[in-house]
């Protein structure tokens, strides 16, 4: 019984981590039609800012709080300078964002000397329920992921800003004719997606340690999640991330980990073959 509880918690927490990392990627892909290959490096930037905050003597959570804002601002500037030139050429956009990601990754590798560095969590240790020990910080991640999911949903579904984003996605020309500044909307959507990545990086760095390939580790899983979930809505990538995260964490419990790793991708490919539109398709939030 104990080990079932532990298994359920661990699988849920890894699912939550993948959802958190994929949220920003999904929003940018769905709302803007850009496959942002630099998204993993936005996660890395968030993690690096948290590390900088922690080493400069401030409490860890200040860096964590600052990370989404700084990465969001960075994303905004990046969109203004570079990303907006790619909207008409999605393939070039992939290459371009990949190059941006590569530059960020190698810069951070240089800054941290290619090492793997531990960053402590603000709430450490384990929560003990009898013989069951679960990580306190993973519990926090699950809670924050739920909060961020709900907040993002409300932002996109219930606010005027969300309505404008969806209008811009649906029909940019009509949106412009109705007085919506689509370029401002694109800028802030990209910044929002980047900020979510920054937050994800800040939250997961205590779990996975800071290293230059932290972001790229999750990028492929993120893209598979977006594919499985379906592009075009907010809920699709989130659902896809949940499925991929839970599968990647659950399969090693029942089979050799080396096989499980491959099987997740095989299952995803088979699924996309039979349901190319993804889990949740169509125009919805």
């Amino acid at each position: 019984m104990d080990s079932v509880l532990i298994a359920a918690f661990e699988i849920l927490s890894f699912g939550a981590i993948i959802v958190l990392v994929t949220l920003g990627l999904g929003i940018i892909a769905s709302m803007m039609g850009i496959f942002n290959f630099a998204q993993g490096e936005f996660v890395l930037l968030g993690a690096y800012i948290t590390y900088l905050g922690a080493t400069s003597g401030l409490p860890v959570w200040t860096g964590m709080l600052a990370a989404p804002f700084i990465v969001g601002a960075f994303g905004f500037v990046l969109e203004r300078l570079i990303i907006r030139r790619f909207y008409l050429a999605p393939i070039v956009a992939m290459l371009g964002t990949y190059a941006i990601g590569l530059i960020i990754r190698e810069c951070i590798r240089g800054l941290i000397g290619g090492r793997y560095i531990s960053v402590s969590e603000p709430i450490g240790g384990s929560l003990d329920f009898g013989d069951v020990h679960v990580s306190a910080w993973r519990f926090v991640i699950i809670v924050v992921t739920l909060l961020v999911m709900v907040a993002s949903y409300l932002l996109l579904a219930r606010t005027t800003f969300g309505l404008k984003i969806r209008a811009t996605l649906e029909n940019p020309a009509l949106a412009r004719a109705s007085g919506i500044s689509t370029s401002a909307i694109y800028g802030s959507t990209f910044a929002f997606g980047a900020a979510l990545a920054g937050l994800a990086g800040a939250l997961v760095v205590p779990v996975f340690t800071l290293f230059a390939d932290l972001g790229i580790r999750f990028l492929i899983q993120g893209f598979v999640a977006v594919m499985v979930g379906g592009i075009g809505s907010f809920a699709g990538p989130v659902a896809g991330a949940g499925v991929i995260g839970v599968l990647s964490a659950a399969l090693p419990w029942v089979m050799a980990p080396v096989i499980a790793d491959v099987l997740v991708f095989v299952l995803a490919i088979v699924f996309i073959k039979f349901r190319p539109q993804g889990l949740l398709s169509g125009r919805r939030v």
């Binding site: 080990s3 532990i6 298994a7 661990e10 699988i11 890894f14 030139r85 190698e106 590798r109 941290i112 000397g113 290619g114 090492r115 793997y116 560095i117 531990s118 402590s120 450490g124 240790g125 384990s126 020990h133 679960v134 990580s135 779990v207 996975f208 340690t209 290293f211 230059a212 390939d213 932290l214 580790r217 990647s248 964490a249 090693p252 419990w253 050799a256 980990p257 080396v258 790793d261």
Partner: protein, 406 residues
């Protein structure tokens, strides 16, 4: 009009961007460190370092380069080798085997270096050994701890082998940990070969292997493994998972109460670099067995001098540590220096013949000598335990340990 200008400037930007990246890809990545003086009659002796200056193994490659610069400077300051200065050619293998082969060829064919030292991972050694030894007809020294079984002529290994890291370490673990072992491992050649050796020792010393399991190299989620370790009441986790997985793995083990219930962590590549991967309490009591630990600098004057020299010349992030091949690099260069002195010339045959039985009295961790006919190196081995963020030596070998290879 505006639009045209804009397009033009973007194109110009893109083309200049392409030129810049091209230059970065081909031009940079090679460095030459000439000696401060020259011998007009014979010219300099050329030493090639082929190591990972960039990419995932950069932390090791940069430290190895630093060590090479330090040793070469020391030799040059004392008047060089055979009256000739040593010129150091450093080539970046970029943690990428396909890039490496081209760069190493440059070192061997264009610069015509007299010896190549380098490579950190076994896959890198296997990629570059052929261009150096077979087609390049040059001597190759491999400095990293590894799985053994590299018996190609003209390749000399100066890092510890499984026998050196396990023969005294496994009995110590059984005595100071327990009999029930788990062998969680990354899925590549070093863990597979090392585990085969360790398993034999564990079983012959009365221990048992509860499970031996392999994971993809980039796996970072180990909940099922941790659960298996806890529920099977494993005493010793003999880990060969490598970064990035090792940090999250140790953390999950700690959070599941493995250390609290008296479990012992063991990891034979753990040195000063890897201490930072976890918070100190998460790896309290972790045992490692290597040829050098920084704490030795306190009571061994030779190690102390070398460590102080290194820290003075290269303060910063890249440490003189055994797990990143830095100590193997030191031994390799010094053994080669001794061999060249004995041979009196630098051609491959004469140096290889002398290197076959070369000895040095001073290196980090103590003296070292090649085992004749084996092309592997005898050295002192130390068992250390992590205590609040540093190491404490708990056992040391009686004299030099045999590599038992080839």
């Amino acid at each position: 009009m505006f639009n045209d200008q804009f397009k033009l400037s973007r194109r110009r930007f893109l083309s200049s961007f392409a030129v810049t990246t091209g230059a970065i890809a081909t031009g940079a990545g090679s460095w030459v460190f000439p000696a401060g003086w020259a011998n007009a009659a014979a010219g300099p002796i050329k030493v090639g370092i082929a190591t990972d200056i960039t990419g995932a193994m950069a932390y090791a490659g940069n430290a190895d380069t630093n060590v090479a610069r330090m040793v070469v400077k020391e030799i040059n300051d004392k008047g060089g080798l055979l009256g000739r200065p040593i010129e150091l050619y450093v080539e970046d293998t970029a943690s990428n085997e396909s890039v490496a082969v081209g760069n190493v060829r440059k070192l061997v064919q264009r610069e015509k270096v007299d010896m190549v030292l380098g490579g950190v991972t076994s896959s890198m050694r296997n990629a570059i050994k052929d261009p150096i030894v077979a087609r390049g007809k040059t001597l190759y020294i491999y400095p990293q701890l590894y799985e053994g079984k590299e018996c190609t002529p003209y390749i000399f290994c100066t890092g510890p082998t499984p026998a050196q890291q396990c023969d005294e370490f496994i009995p110590w673990l059984i005595k100071n940990g327990g009999k029930r072992f788990a062998l969680p491992s990354a899925n590549y050649v070093w863990p597979h070969t090392l585990n085969a050796y360790a398993r034999k020792l564990i079983e012959s010393h009365g221990g048992e292997v509860i499970f031996e399991e392999y994971y993809p190299l980039d796996q970072v989620e180990f909940s099922s493994t941790v659960n298996k370790i806890i529920s099977n009441k494993v005493d010793v986790v003999f880990n060969t998972i490598i970064p990035p997985g090792v940090g999250p793995f140790f953390k999950q083990l700690y959070e599941a109460g493995f250390l609290k219930s008296g479990g012992r962590l063991a990891c034979v590549y753990y040195d000063e670099n890897t201490l930072n991967i976890n918070q100190p309490e998460e790896i309290e009591g972790l045992a490692s067995c290597l040829d050098y630990f920084k704490v030795l600098a306190k009571d061994d004057p030779v190690s102390g001098r070398i460590q102080a020299d290194y820290d003075k010349q290269f303060p910063g992030k890249f440490l003189l540590a055994a797990g990143s091949a830095a100590t193997g690099t030191y031994r390799g260069l010094k053994l080669w220096e001794a061999a060249v002195k004995e041979a009196g010339k630098v051609d491959r045959e004469s140096v290889a013949a002398a290197l076959d039985h070369a000895k040095i009295a001073e290196a980090p961790g103590g003296p070292a000598e090649m085992v004749p006919g084996k092309r592997h190196c005898k050295m002192n081995m130390y068992t250390a335990v992590a205590k609040s963020g540093t190491y404490e030596i708990v056992a040391r070998s009686q004299g030099l340990v045999d590599p038992k290879e080839c």
